[in-house]
């Protein structure tokens, strides 16, 4: 039986090195700005969490095997080789202290995409057997049961019953030819079932045809988080198969940051072909409906609200104005965090950090940056639109004894819909 080894890890790193990677490594000017952009470095003050350092295994493979200088060093026996011990040591840096939020990539003055390279480094870590247990179990469960939390359709079916009895509406399931296929994350099904209810209400209100699929209801992608394209591609294939079976033209990703970037941006590259449908985040769909006048709301929240932009949505996908348009619809007293949108600070839990129990302490340390931002504008409630961010905000605020409830934007919109006669 085959197993994961150092050789396979090195081969995977080698396979990840492409022209951009080479250009990035050779253009790094060691300015250290990425450190200043990283909550894990700033809140621990430990220089080992500097983003560029997290790339050292990948950088060494590049230098040793792809550069003239590295080869000369090799001839002289001066190469610093990547060893199994090194990968073991770097496991914490690559997984525990990086949420793949990409802030380092946007601040880099020479334009190096550090986030993309950490994603690449993870490919080598998985192949050499150095991935955190939490992410390994999540990946195994995602492949074997269809959900990283081991959730099955029957659990969702129970939630659907609750939604139907409380709203009096029908949740469409396996409806062929619907316009939208709605995907969920296990976190939403278990922790935030109000999200499904909100969608049901809003889509009924706006007269949207949509459906869930029993074939595939989960779009979170543990393969992306752990950093393995084989697992990631298989999970994407399941979504594509479900969408094709139901012949939908649009797919809505869950309110889960990495699931959105996985299905929207990485998916077609992973499976090597374009989708026969388009992918949206629910916030984009809601803002389109708002612009088309298909969402009618009444009344506004009058307490002071602020917004946390999920990094996958705002920084990596440019969905920034949409959530503000929606906030304007239902909030009277909205205040932005000082750094928001493209430059917002990560909550600290994304990129698999929250699935990795060992990283708990670091995750809370990174959250202090968000906490400081929230304290600065002192809102009465926080609003967000990513299940992982929301969980992290709730846990973090509780850990620091801050009594600021966190609400989902979709649910808030649903609460303000004009009642039908």
């Amino acid at each position: 039986m085959s197993e994961l080894t150092l050789e396979r890890g090195l081969a995977a790193l080698r396979a990840e090195i492409d022209a951009p990677t080479a250009a990035f490594f050779s253009s790094c000017v060691h300015c250290g700005l990425c450190a200043q952009a990283c909550p894990f470095y700033l809140e621990t003050g430990d220089p080992k969490y500097t983003p560029i350092l997290k790339l050292e295994p990948l950088r060494r493979v590049w230098e040793n095997e792809f550069t003239l200088w590295g080869r000369i060093k090799g001839l002289l026996g001066l190469q610093k080789k990547v060893t199994d011990e090194m990968l073991a040591e770097w496991e914490e840096l690559v997984y525990d202290s990086c949420s793949l939020c990409g802030r380092c990539s946007v601040v880099c003055p020479v334009g190096n995409d550090l986030y993309a390279m950490i994603r690449k480094t993870r490919e080598g870590m998985v192949q050499s057997g150095h991935a955190p247990e939490g992410l390994i179990s999540a990946s195994v469960r995602a492949i074997t049961t269809g959900s990283p939390m081991g959730l099955q359709w029957k659990t969702l079916a129970v939630q659907i019953q609750h939604v139907e009895s409380s709203s009096g509406l029908t949740v469409p399931v396996d409806r062929e030819g619907a316009e939208y296929l709605v995907l969920l994350s296990s976190m939403e099904i278990i922790n935030f079932p109000e999200y499904l209810e909100a969608i049901t209400k809003i889509f009924d209100h706006a007269g949207i045809s949509w459906t869930l699929s029993t074939q595939c209801f989960e779009a979170t992608n543990a393969g992306i988080q752990i950093g393995n394209k084989d697992i990631a591609a298989e999970l994407v294939e399941r979504v594509v198969a479900a969408a094709e079976t139901l012949r939908v033209s649009k797919v809505i990703s869950p309110e889960c940051g990495h699931a959105y970037t996985a299905i929207r941006w990485e998916g077609p590259n992973l499976i090597g072909r374009p989708y026969p449908f388009r992918v949206f985040h629910i916030i984009e769909v809601l803002d389109e409906l708002r612009a088309a006048g298909r969402i009618k709301t009444e009344g506004k929240e009058d307490d002071r609200l602020s917004l946390h932009d999920p990094c996958n949505l705002a920084r990596k996908s440019g969905v920034i104005q949409q959530q503000r348009n929606l906030m304007a619809l239902v909030a009277e007293n909205f205040v932005d965090l000082k750094e928001h949108g493209k430059y917002q600070w990560c909550c600290g839990a994304g990129g698999g950090v929250s699935s990795n129990e060992r990283a708990e302490e670091l995750k809370m340390a990174a959250f202090k940056r968000k906490k400081a931002q929230i304290e600065e504008v002192a809102p009465e409630r926080m609003v967000t639109m990513c299940a992982t961010c929301r969980t992290q905000l709730e846990e973090g605020l509780e850990a620091f004894n801050m009594e600021i409830p966190v609400v989902g934007l979709t649910e808030m919109i649903a609460e303000h819909l004009v009642e039908r006669d």
């Binding site: 039986m1 085959s2 197993e3 994961l4 396979r8 081969a11 995977a12 080698r14 396979a15 090195i17 492409d18 080479a22 300015c31 250290g32 700005l33 200043q36 095997e65 792809f66 550069t67 003239l68 003055p109 020479v110 334009g111 998985v126 192949q127 057997g129 991935a131 247990e133 390994i136 179990s137 990946s139 195994v140 492949i143 074997t144 393995n228 084989d230 697992i231 000082k338 430059y343």
Partner: protein, 367 residues
Amino acid sequence: MRKRSDKTLGESLRDHGLSRRGFLKLCAATASLMALPPSMAPAIAAALEQARRPSVIWLSFQECTGCTESLTRAHAPTLEDLILDFISLDYHHTLQAASGEAAEAARLQAMDENRGQYLVIVDGSIPGPDANPGFSTVAGHSNYSILMETVEHAAAVIAVGTCAAFGGLPQARPNPTGAMSVMDLVRDKPVINVPGCPPIPMVITGVIAHYLVFGRLPELDGYGRPLAFYGQSIHDRCYRRPFYDKGLFAESFDDEGAKQGWCLYRLGCKGPTTYNACATMKWNDGTSWPVEAGHPCLGCSEPQFWDAGGFYEPVSVPLTLGPATLLGAGAAGAVVGGGLAALSRKKGRDAAATRQPVTVDELEQKL
């Protein structure tokens, strides 16, 4: 009677009632202006005492008159000092009282009387010899023919402003008028470039003063700019430099960093690649300068600054490397790197081809 320009500067200054003490003060100011030690002041005094006021012909071509406007705001020496005491400004469109044929006659007379001795100062770029001459004319003559006629017997040419020195705005893509710089056209005479949009007024007068004092042109850099004024980058002399060194950058024009006076690099400051004296001499008699006013340096004293990417895009490529240098370096790099790149590509392809997919069973072994 001797011609006005035959008088020595010493005589001329005394004629204007300048005291000995006032004269030495002026020399000290001139020394400091040219970044010379104060001990040079007596030497400057001696030189100026004997210097003859040169005839200066100022030609304005495709320009906005900003450079002349800048000159009129010179403080040490002032424009009056310069015109009345240092030079004999025999022709200048904007400043001269004469008009029409009398004005052109003044130019021809100055050229005739000071053959081989006079200075030509040019501001504005020139439609080249292959361009339609009608794009810019003076008294019915094309800029190109006036320039070539005037510089033929000149001692030296000073190109004032980025348009004259490097083509400037008229030469920005797509360069509809075929604009060229003075140094593109004048090959057989010394050409000094005093770029800037506009140049710092004291830099203009300082270059002229240097010529008067030493009787020769100042030391120049690779772009023909006097090293005394263009020897250091804005970035190296910038008072915000400590923030750059600490990694403290303003992210927008109204954020906390901007209010704290942090480095403007990320807002597009071209200071690191721009050579000029703004950071030390400042503008309006040392009142302020763009970076002190909260705006990033545009790099206005550098060649092709209009086409060098957005003013608000951070520098990533050294702008002072001309296209030829970049092409040359690129070609050399391509030759050196080509073989290695081919090998690396093969290595990458082989690695991708032999990469083993990860299975769930393999992952489970690690639990």
